[in-house]
Assembly symmetry: C2
Homo-oligomer: 321 residues x 2
């Protein structure tokens, strides 16, 4: 039992943002290394239009491989068609991105909020027809929840209302995503409290944070202290951010795991295994792809071990007196 | 009145770690730009042996210039000799680094804890002979307080005891420094609580954090929430860290100011002015010196202004409903 689930989204959010298609076999090798390092949840890909996102065309095969590993797998879908493709791999978790900014929703998916909600209802109706053991958990991911590059600030009341509507439409839970790297820790605390109050403590369990302005881990800390139990992150901060050179995309798994374990929380992750997965990734990707992360460069503090069982960190957790 | 003092340590901690001596006139131009951006406290240099740290040889002249600007100035000293040089500029604040790791203290300054405490008493005795208007505030800075690259974990009891001894020796206050970038947020919270309980709430007001493992802002958030009112940081994370390529040294002023202001705290700092000071710095330094920071690359979120008066951020602080 882990204290906190680090959900690795690199194979989806990372790879889809790189101008290179990682071959199926290489994806599988990397995901295998991630699972071996102890990652308990991996977003292995998305079932979207292969024309729009060719990097994700092989998601069903990758997912079918990953499903046999010792980890839970998640797949992102935009609609019912995507769901049906995703279900061929029998994933434990499915999520749909739902942009709080309607401008962004229209620009990105050409759908209004009302159209998006119809789509969610359709998906939920379909999921209810499945036998229980084939039915994945279905999460509505509220993207641009902390602000939008098109609209600017996003009203918190709207986030709360949409969270309620997603639950009413039949989602098993909602997540909050800082798609644009706009969030600050006070906002993270406030919005989590408000959404939990509206949809119920257990129905908001995950946040998806970006590190575009360097606030990723501070926001993760705030989320953690507000009772969030699943934090998305990406190995090597993979994906980058085209308009912000030097700014990683998602928060960096390696730095997040160091933070959590050094704080005495059990993630189930073996740090050496994580570094091996990173080294493999570096070999598999073109040299031009920049890998982020501070801890891999600096190494762990002297005397700290992260072995996946939260025993090695006692010197840092308790006062050695 | 600001909610939080961002103490800019770049002219000291940053420049002393660069293999280039910034000319006195250039230092003054940069410090002038920092003060113009609204930084209320600037550590302008150190009065240490010019042979050991040639980058700081001109600290008295730089300090004398900075003393006339609209900011408070701080100078780091190792001993009474350094104090006397520093006092020629009549600074508002003086600090002495005191390594909690005795191994580090011996290696760095060739002094035991007992010898260091004798030195602090000598300094305090000298300061007491000065007229009140010439007497700077004197802070004992507990370095390696969160762990040491030589000793590994540092006992928290020892940090607490040394904090008490520094106060007993006559310091006006103590600070905690994560010299090695080892700290995690739980440890930051715990140690601040323990030291405050031992020496009094008001006698621990500052922390000095590094970003070596990417934890800088998360640790700053923890410190802030434990009532710390002065946070050291360095423009562009200047200084770097020789053993960790890509890892900035101190926490980055630009990213810290974004975090604090976006959270609704007033730092008194004008973000555009900060960027102007950064651009000047970039011009003054050799091209090989890497400047860190995510926010300068990404820009502020749409709709957020940081003008030094905490009025522009209301859209992000309050719910726009």
């Amino acid at each position: 039992m882990v204290d906190l689930v680090v959900s690795e989204v690199g194979p989806r959010d990372g790879l889809q943002n790189i101008d290179y298609i990682l071959p199926t076999q290489d994806k599988c090798r990397w995901i295998e290394a991630l699972a071996a390092a102890g990652l308990r949840e991996i977003e292995v890909g998305s079932c979207v239009s292969p024309k729009a996102v060719p990097q994700m065309a092989d998601t069903p095969e990758v997912a079918a491989f990953a499903r046999r590993l010792n980890t839970e797998i998640a797949i992102l879908i935009p609609n019912l068609k995507g769901l049906k493709r995703a279900l061929t791999a029998n994933p434990q978790k499915i999520s749909i991105p739902f942009s709080v900014s309607e401008t962004h929703s229209l620009k990105n998916l050409n759908r209004t909020h009302a159209q998006m909600l119809d789509g969610v209802e359709e998906i939920c109706a379909y999921l209810r027809t499945l036998p229980a053991d084939e039915r994945p958990e279905f999460e509505g991911g509220l993207s641009t929840a902390f602000g939008c590059t098109l609209e600017g600030p996003v009203p918190e009341d709207r986030v709360v209302t949409l969270a309620e509507q997603l639950m009413a439409a039949g989602c098993d839970g909602v997540g909050l995503a800082d798609t644009t790297g706009y969030a600050n820790p006070a906002q993270v605390r406030r919005l989590i409290r408000r959404v939990k109050a509206a949809v119920g403590e257990q129905n908001l369990s995950s946040v998806h944070l970006h590190n575009t302005r360097g606030q990723g881990l501070a926001n993760a800390l705030a989320a953690l202290e507000e009772g969030i139990t699943t934090l998305d992150s990406s190995m090597a901060g993979l994906g980058g951010c085209p308009f912000a050179p030097g700014a990683s995309g998602n928060i960096v798994t390696e730095d997040l795991v160091f933070m959590l374990e050094a704080m005495g929380l059990n993630t189930g992750i073996d740090y050496d295994g994580l570094i091996r997965a990173r080294e493999l990734l570096q070999k598999l990707l073109p040299k031009a792809v920049e890998l982020y992360g501070f801890t891999p460069a600096a190494g762990l503090p002297k005397g700290l071990c992260i072995r996946g069982d939260s025993q090695g960190d006692s010197l840092y957790v308790a006062s050695p007196g």
